[in-house]
Amino acid sequence: MMMDRIVESYNDFDFENFFRSLDSKKILDVIDRSGEKVLEDMDLLTLLSPQAQEFLEEMAIKANVITKQYFGKEIHIYAPLYISNICDNECTYCGFKHSNPIKRRHLTYDEIEKESKYISETLGVHSIILLTGESYINSLEYLKNAITILKKYFNTVIIEVQPLSVEEYFELKTVGLDGVTVYQECYDKELYKTYHLSGKKSDYKYRLDTPERASIADLRSVNIGALFGLGNPVKEAFLSGLHLRYLTNKFLNTQFSISIPRIKEAYRNIKPQNIISDKQFVQFLLAYRLCFPTSGINISTRESKEFRDNLLPLGVTKFSAGSVTEVGGYSLSNGSSPQFETDDHRSVVEIVDMLKIKGYQPIFKDWESSI
């Protein structure tokens, strides 16, 4: 079954009735089976249910054990690099949306090189996520040349740009692209339309199939997720999890990971509508770890430093550090607007120190770029 069919199959599902059928015995049974047996779709929904919030400690203890077993006490460090904030889409919640009269920038190759050199040599980061707005201006040639430059400085290069075709992902792989991050933002198809008013991103299905196209192109890693704050949080978390399951079952060769980004204020005080609490955030993180023991889980600098530090033993495998979300924001002074506000402003050195104090090994390199 294709992913859009899976989403459709839950259109008429009575979530409330399912939640009413749960009791503590059923929830504890799922927690007990996690890590030993493959958990089913309804097991995931059980762990995401409002009732399961009473068992966060039990879930956390199990998540800690599973994470140590599969990932040890290692945390991968990466940084984002924004090279363009020009965007053709009109997404109501995003600071980069086309109609926003913000200062736009599109880095030249020389500027990309300068930013790369700074991040690599000054911050010491070896893993990078290249980000752009979604625009025709980010041509395949521009992306290809940008990745070629980045590969001189970073062992791992992941892109978070407009969705591409299988052929285009293949093409970027030839110059060293390692992975793709693409967020569906909102799995509820009807709601999706109300947030994505125009531009290519308004094509729900093309976006939904993007991780699959990247996997067909045999990229090493694919990261997915929903932007929490747009749709019903539990349903969005559930469908994101089903997406992860669909992909991991279909593409054994790809390392999949999931993120739990919460919407942040960007340009002009955009207010989230269904903001999830810290408690619910933790519940989603734990549910993913219990259901998907070998999948990565990323936590970005959207979250506060205190909150991020407390998430460490609960299943996190990747941490961004020293993040700047303005185009050219590391080494070029330009005053461009950020896509969203970050909350953890610590430097890479401070993050590394924190990890070591808490008994974690920061991993800067996880792939040899010359291979």
């Binding site: 077993q69 070896h126 062992n155 060769n253 070591k356 390199k365 792939w367």
Partner: protein, 255 residues
């Protein structure tokens, strides 16, 4: 002396350790010092070859043999490239072939492993391939010039022990190379069991790195490995289905 010989190199100790999942590099050094393990596997993809940042190699005591592995490789070609980079970087000729195409259960790809072994052995590497235990694959690896065979006892990181015991027994009985159980060993008793079966060594990573006290656990694994080896050399008493009295009950009878 009962030495383990791989690729012409002698080892007094049959516990091979891993370097992944530890909370710090210092802990790896301490673990090696205390456990007396003489060989450690390291993921080349994690080693900073530029030497600009902290490097796990700086924490491995002299005298401990480096066994770079090809983790991250998904094809024979990638594994071969990693092996060549490892050698060019001064990591020596030993290489553990680890080719994984299944990111869900992390199972090794036996076919690609044979392909990589054929090429690397010809290039003079001391090749130690990690495989799903299968006699045909093991014999192909033997023919290809492997220096040892490293079957999994259970999926990586599972700590489930010797789930593949009958298959490993077949390898022990039929292969001329050292059989080293890799992956799945979760407790010292599992290591002991593998050694009692006649395996030549065990490789343990997760069970040591993720224990509450990795140094103490590594010491325990070392002792268990030695105990298992000595039991194997002493030849364990036969298992009988019928009762056998320790002193003959009918010895009083005379012809």
């Amino acid at each position: 002396m009962d030495k383990l010989i791989i690729g012409g190199v002698e080892f007094n100790n049959r516990l091979i350790t891993g370097s992944g999942k530890f909370s710090s590099y210092n802990l790896i050094r301490e673990m090696l010092n205390e456990s007396k393990s003489e060989m450690i596997t390291i993921a080349l993809r994690r080693v900073d070859l530029t030497g600009k940042s902290e490097n796990v190699l700086d924490y491995i005591p002299k005298g401990v043999k480096l066994l770079p592995n090809t983790s991250g490789a998904r094809t024979a070609e990638e594994a071969i490239k990693i092996a060549r980079i490892a050698r060019a970087s001064g990591c020596g000729d030993f290489i553990k072939i680890e080719i994984i195409n299944d990111m869900k259960y992390l199972m090794p790809d036996n076919h690609e492993t044979v392909r990589a072994t054929e090429i690397l052995a010809k290039e003079g590497f001391i090749v130690m391939p990690y495989i799903n235990p299968d006699l045909i694959t093991a014999k192909k690896l033997e023919a290809a010039g492997a220096a040892a065979i490293m079957p999994l006892g259970a999926p990586i990181g599972s700590n489930k022990g010797l789930l593949t015991k009958p298959m490993i027994e077949i390898l022990v009985e039929n292969c001329n190379l050292p059989i080293i159980v890799d992956a799945g060993i979760g407790k010292p008793s599992h290591a002991c069991e593998a050694m009692e079966m006649g395996c030549s060594a065990v490789l343990v990573d997760t069970a040591i790195a993720t224990s509450e006290n990795p140094v103490k656990m590594a010491i325990a694994f070392n002792k268990a490995t030695q105990a298992g080896r000595e039991a194997y050399l002493a030849k364990c008493a036969k298992i009988n289905n019928h009762a056998v009295a320790s002193s003959s009950l009918t010895g009083f009878l005379r012809d």
